[in-house]
């Protein structure tokens, strides 16, 4: 039983693994059987024993050791029983210092990020889901994979479904065309831009379109119109014969699909849930990638990981990250329990590693890291925090720290797999983002920073949305008004804003808006001048018409007169323009030139008309009318021009709708008792919106709002809503019932005892207790959690909705809209940047069977 020592030299004889050991044993056994005698294979058996016992240094699992020892014992016993000598037959102790080192680039785990198509060799444990999706795709043309954040839906599509299809999982699918996966982003239609070209180029081949993170359509795109067109486009593609559409969407945004019924229909037929992996699947996901590169897991490690992850639907990124860390800390070719313990076991690896990176920095760099990460988080609709992809150049400029230091911080974060870089055309064009939203939710340090910044992030989102808007209008519209500029400036100079580093575009918007505000008065004058020019244009046209007719002399006289008037007006306009400062003057000159060109066009059109007799007659009559009601006509023309120019002027000068008081100054976002009309409410885990008013069905007092505001996990409704920091302590009542259409109807919240609603309308008095209908042009007012107290107008009255020019903001939904008599006319439902939709109040009250509390 003497043990011969294992050395680097002798260990060369060992079998590489138990597999080869057993294979050799089997062939030896076969030969022994054939020979009918051990003596014939004795030398080989001795060699086998020697090699097998050396193999012990590679074997750490008890099962494998027992198996190897069992085979060694078999041969040594067989030799002994044949009276043949045998030496040492004890399996060598496990000693990983002899194991082969695995190169870094072999890493079989992806870390936090979703699996990409190129990771398909590392992707395991998802056979069920992938097979289900493929089965759907055989039958239909649309599959939607849903699941919570971190449930692995993107990976299923990118590393599961797509590679399988490319491998011919469906007959002929290896011949299909595959468009690069897109995410909707803030400009969803743009993301589908290349599809048509591909379809055409495909010449009859099936095209696969993948839309990852479909929820961005709701979180990043605020334009309902754009949403519908995008969805419509997908539905059209999916119903065509030559397309397969695969989307992924977070399950908490699934309900939003109900707002796009045609998509909802295809989606529910092709829906597949990315459920949590069961134990066997987890084992596969952990062990198979390792086995592929002969990486070993210390016995018990897989079990420990499974114990910690099982049943956690969103734990996959954390598991992958843990595995990646274990790989980093591997012992040559082995992931060890010791490393796992060092990582803190469980799913603490992410926290530990991120903390470690943070602590590894100098205090200065730590601050940079904090700001870099804060920049990679943004508030989505409903104040939820999500990941934000930013360009490196922009990041460097907006943070304003030493670029060297930022680069170093980014490098370290990337190396630790906490962030992910996507290559752009140049280094500045590279984009970076957190590897997975799991980081935002699971790293206590970042969560802590974000908690204190949530309000600021929401504010930043609001302002940056304005900046985006401004950019979309090509800087011609979307400027801030005086009050907004002042607010924004104050906010931007605050400590928290500096931490969050406002984007360049926002800073530019504020700068430009400030200039504009400073020249506002002059601008107003300028506008008057423009009006005068236009009036002249109209008059000039009239005179032109007259001139071509009888009474030429009179016409000429009138023309002279008009010319003089025009000259006077022009001179006056020029004088006014002279007062405008140079930059503004140039901008306005340009604008005036455009208007002039417009005018020329009109004149040309009218010149054509000139030759038509019927028109001539009308022109003559018009001349009489013009003469008679010159003043009146002038006013009318002014009004007509104003109406026509409203959208443009609104943006250049100021909004028709006007903010009267900021929401915070009327305490709409904080806890108020009694409750205020328009105050922030919501339900735990759900959205945040505004309270409309008090209603009653004769027995119970309710607060009225919209269904999706109180559709959170809990029935308990809180004020302020979750987006404004409301907690269980702020409960005001319980969700009672809602109208049939759970998106466009009212919802009732039964008020808890002692909770009352104050129907004060700020300086306008109190709600009258009556309802009213509206007509186009009516002036309206609104008190809302987002935009505060504003005034606006009815733009158009439709069957079931009132279009208004309120500039609504996030959290306004549910707000009371009332007229100048303080009669309630509707509930604010939603808005794009131009129009706000108000649901008329009467049908809502009727459906719910309630009346306003007088």
């Amino acid at each position: 039983m003497s043990e011969t020592p294992v050395t680097a030299e002798t260990v060369k004889e060992a079998f590489p693994s138990i597999v080869e050991l057993r294979a050799t044993h089997t062939s030896l056994l076969t030969r022994q059987r054939k020979a009918m005698s051990v003596t014939d294979v004795a030398d080989e058996a001795r060699l086998f024993i020697r090699r097998a016992r050396l193999t012990g240094v590679y074997l750490d699992a008890d099962e494998q050791r027992d198996a190897a020892q069992g085979l060694i014992d078999y041969w040594s016993t067989t030799l002994v029983r044949a009276s043949l000598g045998v030496n040492d037959s004890t399996l060598a102790e496990f000693d990983n210092s002899f194991a082969e080192k695995l190169e870094e680039h072999l890493c079989p785990y992806v870390g936090l990020t979703a699996f990409r198509e190129s990771d398909s060799q590392k992707f395991f444990g998802r056979k069920r889901a992938v097979d289900a999706a493929l089965a759907r795709l055989r039958e239909s043309h649309f599959v939607g994979v849903t699941g919570s954040s971190g449930s692995g839906k993107s990976s299923i599509v990118l590393a599961g479904i797509i590679p399988a299809l490319k491998d011919g999982a469906i007959e002929g699918s290896e011949q299909w065309l595959y468009a690069d996966p897109v995410t909707p982003g803030s400009d969803p239609l743009q993301s589908l831009a290349g599809i048509d070209a591909l379809l055409q180029a495909g010449a009859g081949r099936t095209l696969v379109v993948i839309v990852d993170q479909f929820e961005e359509l709701f979180t990043l795109c605020d334009d309902h119109q754009v949403r519908s067109s995008f969805a419509g486009r997908l539905v059209a593609l999916a119903s065509g014969a030559l397309c397969r559409v695969v989307i992924t969407i977070r399950s908490d945004y699934e309900y939003r699909l109900t707002t796009i019924p045609e998509l909802q229909k295809v989606y529910s037929a092709g829906r597949i849930a990315a459920t949590a992996l069961d134990e066997d699947e987890l084992r596969e996901a952990i062990e198979k990638p390792a086995a592929n590169i002969k990486l070993k897991l210390e016995p018990g490690l897989t079990d420990a990981l499974i114990r910690d992850v099982k049943g956690e639907a969103s734990a996959l990124p954390l598991l992958q990250f843990t595995l990646w860390r274990l790989w980093k800390d591997r012992d040559r070719n082995r992931l060890t329990l010791a490393a796992y313990k060092k990582l803190g076991g469980g799913l603490a690896a992410l926290e530990r590693s991120a903390d470690e990176v943070y602590r590894g920095f100098t205090p200065q760099s730590r601050d940079t890291m904090r700001r870099v990460l804060l920049r990679m988080v943004r508030a989505a609709a409903g104040a939820e925090l999500t990941s934000n992809r930013v360009r490196v150049g922009m990041l460097v400029r907006s943070i304003g720290d030493d670029p060297q230091r930022i680069a170093e911080v980014l490098g370290k974060l990337e190396e630790s797999k906490l962030i992910r870089r996507t290559k752009g055309k140049s280094g500045d064009e590279d984009t970076v983002e957190v590897s997975h939203e799991a980081l935002i939710r699971n790293w206590p340090l970042l969560v802590g920073w974000l908690e204190t910044k949530r309000g600021a992030l929401v504010e930043l989102r609001r302002l940056e949305a304005l900046a985006d808007e401004w950019l979309r209008f090509d800087r011609r519209g979307g400027y801030l008004d005086r009050e907004q500029v002042e607010e924004a400036e104050a906010w931007l100079s605050s400590e928290e804003a500096r931490d969050l580093s406002a984007s360049e575009s926002l800073q530019a918007l504020v700068r430009e808006s400030r200039k504009l505000v400073n020249s506002q008065r002059r601008v107003k004058h300028f506008a008057l001048a423009l009006v005068a020019v236009l009036v002249l244009a109209v008059m000039y046209t009239q005179w032109m018409k007259l001139r071509s007719e009888r009474d030429k002399a009179k016409a000429e006289r009138e023309a002279d007169k008009a010319e003089i008037e025009a000259k006077i007006a022009a001179a006056r306009a020029e004088e006014l323009l002279g007062k405008v400062n140079k930059a503004d003057y140039d901008a306005m000159q340009k604008y005036a030139a455009e208007l002039k060109a417009e005018k020329e066009k009109t004149l040309q059109a009218l010149a054509l008309v000139e030759h038509r007799n019927s028109e001539l007659q009308a022109a003559l009559e018009a001349r009489d009318a013009a003469e008679k009601e010159l003043v009146e006509q002038k006013v009318e023309a002014t009004q007509a021009v104003q109406r026509a120019m409203t959208p443009v002027l609104n943006r250049v000068i100021t909004s028709q709708s006007e903010r009267l008081l900021d929401a915070t100054r009327w305490n709409l976002r904080s806890m108020t008792r009694p409750l205020r009309l328009g105050a922030s409410i919501g339900s735990a885990g759900g959205a945040t919106g505004s309270l409309c008013c008090a209603v009653t069905d004769g027995r119970t007092r309710y607060a009225l709002t919209l269904p999706f505001i109180v559709s959170g996990k809990s029935d308990r409704v809180i004020q302020p809503g979750p987006g404004d920091g409301g907690t269980a302590r702020s409960v005001i009542g319980t969700f009672a019932r809602a109208g049939k259409d759970d998106y466009r109807s009212g919802a009732l919240v039964a008020l808890s005892p002692g909770v009352t609603i104050d129907s004060s309308l700020w300086r306008f008095g109190r709600l009258s207790g009556r309802t009213a209908t509206v007509r186009s042009g009516d002036t309206l007012r609104m008190i809302a959690r987002g935009s505060g107290i504003t005034t606006g107008h009815v733009v158009e009255v439709r069957d079931d909705e009132i279009l208004t020019d309120f500039q609504a903001e996030g959290g306004d939904s549910g707000a009371p809209v009332f007229n100048e008599n303080n009669d309630l006319v509707g509930i604010l439902w939603g808005s794009d940047k131009v129009t706000a939709i108000v649901l008329p109040i009467d049908p809502i009250l009727r459906e719910l069977g309630v009346k306003l509390v007088p």
Binding site: R33, A67, D73
Partner: protein, 488 residues
């Protein structure tokens, strides 16, 4: 010779009568016609002279039957079959015999009732190795071999579990008394050396057997028991107590082994592995105190190093000693004094006791052969099963698949001799067969484990029987030594 069975109640009492008595013939002779001369001239004649009812195809068979039917009929109608093993027989008859056995797995039990007569060195089929050959290669000893064959053919079917040896002691004492007769002493002096060897080998056998027993005990009552209780040691006090007890048990076994090791006969082959056991025992004691499961397993692994190899080694020595045990010498000597006693007009009672002693010695020799060979075969089976067991799981049973047919062949030989244990083991074997046919590793694993447990139980019985037989053998050591003493 028929009287032998009736006249020796002590022998009969020790035999288990398991066969229906009514066979028309005592023995069927299977042979190749090329060997006809010797068979008719020597073998059949000797058997018939011995009073046996012999069935042999030259005169007993109906004409026109195919030879397979003939052979089957012959086997079926006779209590035993003797096969005259020559290359001719192997070439011409063996395949038929095998064919007959293969029908429904030897329904006639022919395998167990076959006695091979080795007439010529030839490639005998492996399972025959279990049987005791009657060696007729050497014509010089043929008459003695025939007498022995006749006596064993006259015995009822079924090997005794253990042959009791008390009559041998009496016979040997009678022998001592006769030594004073001059030519008896002279004749017996020829045996002196061999008697001495036998006495030495009996001691040795006893020692090996004791060592083997200790190891067997350690395997069953220490090693396996430890593995069973180890997982509970951290949080179950009874497991701690139990393992503590196994540890003490191990210490006792080590004490016994050291005592055996100290015997003079082991002078040149000290059992160094006892130190490994002691080391294991120390490690175990420490681990129990610390309630350290890993430590307990480490100790068990040390034990396993000994248990994996040593029983086979001991067994090899045991077999070697048994093979060298020329009990023939005692039988011959007893035959001689028996004849002489009769010639000298010794009291019939004494002659009878000598005859009785000789018969028991013959039965003992045969039984010991069966037991040693059986034990060796079982040990082979155990080695195979142990290997398979360490390499099989519910997911991968490939080790079983590649070994099963060989293992089954080995076991088939063993269950040729009848017993209650055979059927259940066969049932499990069939289940394993089915699982392999179905390619279901989980079932293969499950039924193999069942199979192994039953086979182990049987092995244990064989082991116990051998041990007892060795103990019985030990009782003739002293009277034999006395004979040797008297000769001086």
């Amino acid at each position: 010779m028929v009287g032998y069975t009736h006249g020796n109640p002590s022998i009969q009492g020790s035999m288990s009568a398991t066969t229906p008595a009514e066979y028309p013939h005592d023995v069927f002779v299977s042979y190749s016609h090329k060997d006809k001369a010797w068979v008719s001239g020597v073998l059949v004649k000797a058997l018939r002279d011995g009073g046996l009812r012999v069935l042999v195809d030259e005169d007993g068979f109906a004409a026109g039957n195919s030879s397979i039917t003939n052979m089957t009929d012959g086997v079926l109608q006779s209590r035993r079959t003797v096969a005259v093993l020559t290359q001719n027989w192997v070439d011409s008859e063996w395949s038929q015999f095998e064919g007959m056995l293969s029908v429904q797995q030897d329904p006639t039990g022919a395998r167990g009732r076959l006695i091979p007569i080795l007439r010529e060195k030839c490639n005998a089929p492996p399972w025959l190795s279990l049987r005791t050959y009657v060696d007729c290669v050497n014509d010089a000893t043929i008459s003695d071999q025939m007498a022995k064959l006749v006596r064993s053919l006259a015995r009822p079917l079924g090997a005794p579990d253990v042959v009791r040896t008390r009559p041998v002691g009496e016979g040997l004492r009678t022998m001592s008394e006769l030594i004073s007769a001059g030519h008896v002493r002279e004749k017996l002096l020829e045996y002196e050396l061999r008697f001495n060897t036998i006495v030495g080998l009996i001691h040795r056998l006893d020692a090996f057997k004791s060592v083997h027993d200790q190891l067997h005990h350690v395997q069953l009552h220490v090693y396996e028991a430890i593995l069973r209780d180890a997982p509970r040691i951290a949080d179950d006090d009874t497991a701690v107590d139990a393992i503590d007890y196994y540890s003490n048990d191990l210490q006792r076994a080590i004490g016994t082994l050291r005592e055996i090791d100290a015997r003079p006969m082991f002078e040149n082959m000290r059992m160094a592995w006892i130190d490994t056991l002691a080391e294991a025992q120390k490690a175990l004691a420490v681990a129990v105190k610390a309630r350290d499961e890993k430590g307990v397993r480490g100790a068990a692994r040390l034990l396993n190093r000994v248990l994996a190899n040593e029983p086979a080694r001991i067994d090899a020595r045991l077999g070697e000693a048994a093979a060298n045990l020329e009990l023939e010498a005692v039988i011959d000597a007893l035959s001689f004094v028996c004849r002489t006693g009769r010639e000298l007009g010794m009291a019939a009672e004494k002659v009878l006791s000598l005859e009785h002693a000789r018969d028991v010695m013959e039965a003992l020799e045969e039984n010991l052969g069966i037991l040693v060979r059986g034990h060796r075969l079982w040990q082979d089976v155990e080695v195979e099963m142990r290997r398979i067991e360490t390499n099989i799981s519910a997911k991968d049973a490939s080790e079983l698949e590649i070994s099963w047919s060989d293992l089954l062949k080995m076991v088939t030989v063993l269950w040729a001799s009848p017993g209650d244990w055979v059927q259940p083991l066969r049932d499990d074997a069939r289940s394993v067969d089915e699982a392999i046919a179905a390619g279901d590793p989980a079932q293969m694993n499950r039924f193999f484990v069942r199979f192994r447990k039953k086979a182990n139980t049987r092995f244990f019985t064989v082991d116990t029987n051998l041990k007892e037989q060795c103990e019985e053998l030990g009782t003739i050591g002293r009277p034999l030594a006395e004979v040797v003493e008297a000769l001086k």
